[in-house]
């Protein structure tokens, strides 16, 4: 036994801890999430609201109570930004996790069973990959769900709008992870430890779950992280175009739609939501990049 008992993950964590940029980005990201999801407490604290309109205090200037002033309907801009962040950031998380889950399942199935299953799944992946993403997303976001048999009430509810975005971004976003996981699985099933497990009589399920996926987790984590940034950008674009998050619900993208019209008189209202998107996505990308180098197999001990 050559060294102290350190798992691969501990080594990776140590490498990540030396990457100051990634750590800073991680801190920014945690702060953003924490702030956004404590929006209601912050509202109480300051005695403001990011939801209810107050026509007496439209376009209030920046002061101690309204950190970023108030918007065209008298809502406190800062807490409204946090409310929008709840939607944007959680959609980012859910849709990224969703895409990774779907991509992992499809990629692992294709790579493990190979042959025709692989061929069919990979053709399907290519098919999805060559779809013009934004137009198809817009069509999916605009689909009339009642034509698919959903009830009118459900379709009009805010939840439907939220989960519809999560779902369609997931549906179009799994291809990268699927390809990564397939490639990893193809090489892993040739490894002797997989043969050893099969020689023991391990089921396909066990081989995939215990031996293949844990060894393919590195690219999955990195891709999921980077995907989160992509999802937030996509959601903001859809909401900006008016087919994403619908009022009264709000996201950073839909805040920009309103702000666009007030650009000439109140340009700052257009600056904040975009800056929030930029900060969140750039932090996510730096974290993803840091994870990628911390997980680089060339740096793993053997």
């Amino acid at each position: 036994m050559t060294e102290a008992a350190v798992s691969v993950w501990q080594l990776r964590w140590r490498r990540l801890a030396r990457d100051h940029v990634a750590l800073a980005a991680l801190a920014v990201l945690f702060t953003l999430y924490a702030l956004c999801f404590s929006a209601s407490w912050i509202e109480q604290w300051f005695g403001v609201t990011g939801i209810d309109t107050d026509l007496m205090s439209r376009f209030d200037p920046i002061d101690a109570q309204h950190w970023l002033g108030s918007d065209e309907a008298g809502r406190d801009e800062f807490t409204r930004l946090l409310r929008g962040g709840q939607v944007s950031l959680s959609i980012g998380l859910f849709a990224a996790l969703g895409s990774s889950f779907v991509g992992t399942m499809i990629g692992a199935t294709a790579g493990y069973f190979r042959g025709r299953i692989d061929m069919v799944l990979m053709r399907f992946t290519d098919f999805m990959l060559a779809l013009p993403a934004l137009p198809v997303l817009i069509i999916l976001a605009a689909l009339d769900l009642t034509k698919l048999g959903f009830s009118e009430n459900f379709v009009r509810s805010g939840d439907a709008g939220y989960w519809r975005i999560v779902l369609i971004v997931t549906v179009l976003g799994w291809t990268t992870v699927a390809r990564l996981v397939r490639a990893a699985t193809l090489s892993l099933v040739e490894r002797e430890f997989v043969l050893a497990a099969r020689a023991q009589g391990a089921s396909s399920w066990r081989v995939l779950w215990v031996h293949v996926l844990p060894n393919a987790v590195t690219p999955i984590i990195v891709a999921t992280t980077l995907r989160m940034g992509g999802v937030i950008l996509t959601e903001s674009a859809l909401s900006f175009l008016g087919v994403g998050i619908q009022p009264p619900s709000t996201s950073w993208g839909s805040m920009l739609t309103n702000a666009q019209e007030l650009m000439a008189s109140n340009p700052l209202l257009a600056v904040y939501p975009g800056a929030a998107i930029l900060i969140a996505v750039i932090a996510i990308n730096f974290v993803g990049d840091g994870l990628q180098s911390a997980f680089d197999p060339r740096a793993d001990p053997h």
Partner: protein
């Protein structure tokens, strides 16, 4: 006596998988092999790389699809076994792989690796499994705290001990070892051999050892089979094979061995040329292009494996020392 594991006319083909629009290209890696592993014996299969010996081992365990012939376990055709029977066979026939760096999952601690067979075959409780792991680690000469460490923290020899402990975990009757020593240093090789011999005596294990090196199996094997291009060309007890090899190929392998225990030089020349591609095996006896004693008969007709004397089979038209 019923053989523990027996191949009858076993053929294994590989190739590109057939596509939707084209047939696959087939290679016969194992061709009509018949071989039996008796309970408690040590059988070595020796051949150059590409001779099909690894494929034979994997086919015996049902790890690769069989193209022809049968594999019998305890006299039962494995193709006709139920899933439960197959699982039961996998419990008592264990495998040790060549590369101790590849055969252990790098993401699992050693304790989980050794306990995996117990887990798969649902043997014991959590606590009893932990005890069993400690017992096995002790058996192969590792300290019990190894259970919490990861494979990358061990040397090659230690890893092969871990792989061995895993194979012993479910209480097997036979261990199939594919080049178990070739990745190890010579000093560690002898340690492993001693360990294997001790455990054989203690547990009554049968071994099927796959090797490219005749000298390496000299001291451990009871019987030796030599394989060439997917066929068994000679089977005999270790003494008979080393003293009076009948197949020119076996003789050539022996001649390539620098020193044999007896010090006697064995008839036959060192092997020239390379093993032909199994994609296009030579007609007749596959060995004839490299054989010093080949005749025109050898180029046209493949010799069958037949008994030269009791317990000594050879597939050659002109066996050595028989003319």
């Amino acid at each position: 006596m019923t053989a523990l594991l027996e191949a009858i006319d076993l053929t294994v083909s590989f190739g590109d998988r057939a596509g939707w629009f084209r047939p696959g290209q087939q290679v016969q890696a194992v061709r009509a092999v018949s071989l039996a592993l008796q309970p408690g014996e040590v059988l070595a299969v020796v051949g150059e790389s590409g001779s099909g010996k690894t494929t034979l081992a994997r086919a015996l365990l049902g790890m690769v699809p069989i193209a022809g012939g049968t594999v019998r376990f305890d006299g039962c055709d494995t193709a006709a076994m139920t899933a439960a029977q197959t699982l039961a066979m996998r419990r008592v026939v264990q495998m040790v792989f060549q590369d101790p760096f590849g055969s252990l999952d790098p993401r699992l601690p050693v304790g989980a690796i050794i306990a995996e067979p117990l887990d798969i075959h649902r043997i014991g409780t959590k606590a009893s499994r932990r005890e069993r792991v400690a017992e096995l680690l002790d058996l192969v000469g590792l300290s019990p705290d190894a259970a919490g460490r990861y494979p990358h923290q061990f040397s090659g020899g230690q890893r092969q001990r871990i792989a061995f402990a895993r194979a012993l975990a479910p209480g097997p009757r036979a261990i199939i070892a594919d080049e178990p020593l070739s990745a190890l240093d010579v000093s560690i090789q002898s340690q492993m051999l001693n360990l294997a011999a001790a455990l054989r005596a203690r547990l009554g294990l049968a071994y099927l050892i796959i090797s490219h090196d005749l000298a390496a199996v000299h001291h451990v094997a009871d019987r030796v089979a030599t394989m060439y291009l997917g066929r068994i060309v000679e089977v005999a007890s270790v003494d008979a094979l080393f003293s009076t090899p009948a197949h020119p190929y076996t003789a050539a392998l022996l001649a390539a061995v620098p020193r044999i225990g007896t010090g006697k030089r064995v008839p036959g020349d060192a092997l020239g040329g390379d093993i032909p591609s199994p994609l296009a095996p030579p007609p007749g006896c596959a060995f004839h292009p490299r054989c010093p004693a080949a005749t025109s008969l050898c180029a046209t007709e493949a010799p069958a494996l037949r008994a030269l004397r009791a317990g000594h089979d050879v597939a050659c038209h002109h066996p050595l020392g028989a003319a």
